[in-house]
Symmetry: C2
Subunit: 413 residues, 2 copies
Amino acid sequence: MATIDRAASIARVAADINELTGPAYTLTSDAIRRYAYTDVYASTLDYFETQFTDLGFDVSFDPVGTLVARNRPSGEPVFGVGSHCDSNRNGGPYDGTLGVVVALEVCRLNAEHGADLPLQVISFLEEEGSGFGQMLLGSRIMVQSVDEADLRENFRSLDDGRSFWEHAEDAGYDPSRWRESVNVLDNHLGWIETHIEQARVLQDTGNRLGIVNAIAGYIHGDITVIGRADHAGATPMDFRHDAAVVAAMCITELERVAKEAGNRTVGTVGELSVSPGLINVVPGEARLSLDVRGPDDASVKDVVASIKSYAHEVAEARGLEANYAMRQTLPATAMDASIVSELETAAAGSVEPYRSMLSGAAHDTMCVASRVPSAMVFVPCRDGISHAPDEEADPADGALASEVIFEAIQRLV
Amino acid sequence: MATIDRAASIARVAADINELTGPAYTLTSDAIRRYAYTDVYASTLDYFETQFTDLGFDVSFDPVGTLVARNRPSGEPVFGVGSHCDSNRNGGPYDGTLGVVVALEVCRLNAEHGADLPLQVISFLEEEGSGFGQMLLGSRIMVQSVDEADLRENFRSLDDGRSFWEHAEDAGYDPSRWRESVNVLDNHLGWIETHIEQARVLQDTGNRLGIVNAIAGYIHGDITVIGRADHAGATPMDFRHDAAVVAAMCITELERVAKEAGNRTVGTVGELSVSPGLINVVPGEARLSLDVRGPDDASVKDVVASIKSYAHEVAEARGLEANYAMRQTLPATAMDASIVSELETAAAGSVEPYRSMLSGAAHDTMCVASRVPSAMVFVPCRDGISHAPDEEADPADGALASEVIFEAIQRLV
């Protein structure tokens, strides 16, 4: 293992992050706000282009504006690293951007140590959906899991309502060639994305890195409970068809079955409303959202099936009705065992605390993994706060991720 | 018992109700909307004034405009009947008004049968609070449970923000004499108010009358649960401080303790919200309202104390915090045993199905009962619907209430 000048590495990562929180890179001084085809997004790509060019990389853009930097001619095998540098509309300095900065630092370490690894960095477009309301848009385009009609017509700017297609053309790209984006992932030996954790498992367990071995799949749905609104004073307990009570039973039952399911399955009721919502009226209707996730699709499905039938049963037993409707679902994505194993070996070699973990959130790597053996590295963020201006992470953890990825790739190529 | 021409009585009650749903008596054609000092409220008082005057009653108004009609000179004992004829802002034809119509019909039966009972009818002002946001305002003024400063300054029109005092003066009343209103309840042998039930106990049990033996007291409060908002995908089940789960536990526990308390105690969570309220975020905060009522104040207090300590305990055990704050409370009002008994005897004599019951809702009779032995009679309303334009009741049940009250008063005076 090369002896890495950690202090220098930390300083570089910190400088990159610091630079990209400046006024040239965000639409507002209250938060980091940058998304595709804005001037501040272009400035951000310019910054990375300069950095990669300085390292001798060729920088190009796919037909919609995803940045690609590589140190090998097109057609030759490379190992991929990267993330995205667009932000949430009211975001912080680290979500996405740190992953591109870490990828850049991997390339710097590669130069510094003369390792000459074959590398390609991608900075994906519109991961957050801040520009057009479409999450993972750049990586979905790259793996061709979009319809041209959507790009041309249906995906529209949240700011001015004009189409993605028009905006891409105005920015100087050629969206009519979007299908060629697929070639960016050709001849890949593997892919590693770094991202802040967006939860507090690493912080609370005292670990500096998380080696992601799966990205959770999820089912989003809603349960609607139909009871009967009645006067809260005038209606005896045994005359009620109280929708709030059935909703409450479903909430505690979801917690129970999610825990029982194991396999790192989680279940959440994040939205909850009762109607008419007056202190002196027994709720006639209640709605609760379901968010069930985990690396094991069968467990996720089982939990949803279980809560659905529980809701039906308790509602019926009390003379109410409960209906379940799914909003959307995505299967879990397994990470590549060899890459995970080499990352763990490298992390252990760093003598810094790390843990293997699940990614509960979705990432561009879910798309990349359909083409390329993939893995992810998480770094802690303070109190799990993300998608907010006070999002914080330690550049030292980013530098550590770069070091571990650099070591792992050396064993993988 | 006098033989009452029920068909004629029903026709009169139906005609009164029908008249008072006309355009002269409501501010909108979509609902019944009338409240103090509006033209349509004045028209309603005019209608009753004409009816009582035709029966030989003296009609007067207390210093704020509460209608008083009596067939005995001031100073002589009377038996009181009545209710209110103001409506909810989006109300129906029966809430309040039917009680005044039933009182009028008692007076008609009294004339028809030459019973010459000493009667006084009150139509209370602003029971619903539609004009100034203050429930039971007329009866609270009559029993002097208001502050003059509130009447002069703090109670303000929901329509134009001007004070109750100014509006009363503009309508030709003399609010500076409001303390004289107390005399309206002097020399009373008793008081009976008729009201629609506003719940579905009578309908569902097949009864045409409810003889109210207590008006429930209540405690209104709120529980706020403070947990921690976390990413719903990235946060394992055992890392969560989920405010929604604690709120849900409180909801099911409230149902359990209210049932266990017995004594016709009821407990309701009618308002429920979680924050931030996003499908993919574990709720960091939850708020639930508590409405606990019953005829037994100790049971009501016990239920609130029990749910409050339960909330504290489960929150603490899970690393969250739960705070309880009371909004307001009113003790239960017992009805007068003799009046209740005579009403039950008369109801039994009518050979129509009736039941003894609790009033879960508040009524002007809560104020009257502080001065005068009181009771109430409920008539069914369809599906318990009230405070809504589709509120429905059967004039025949109103006529039956008049008959039963007429019979009972004959035994009570």
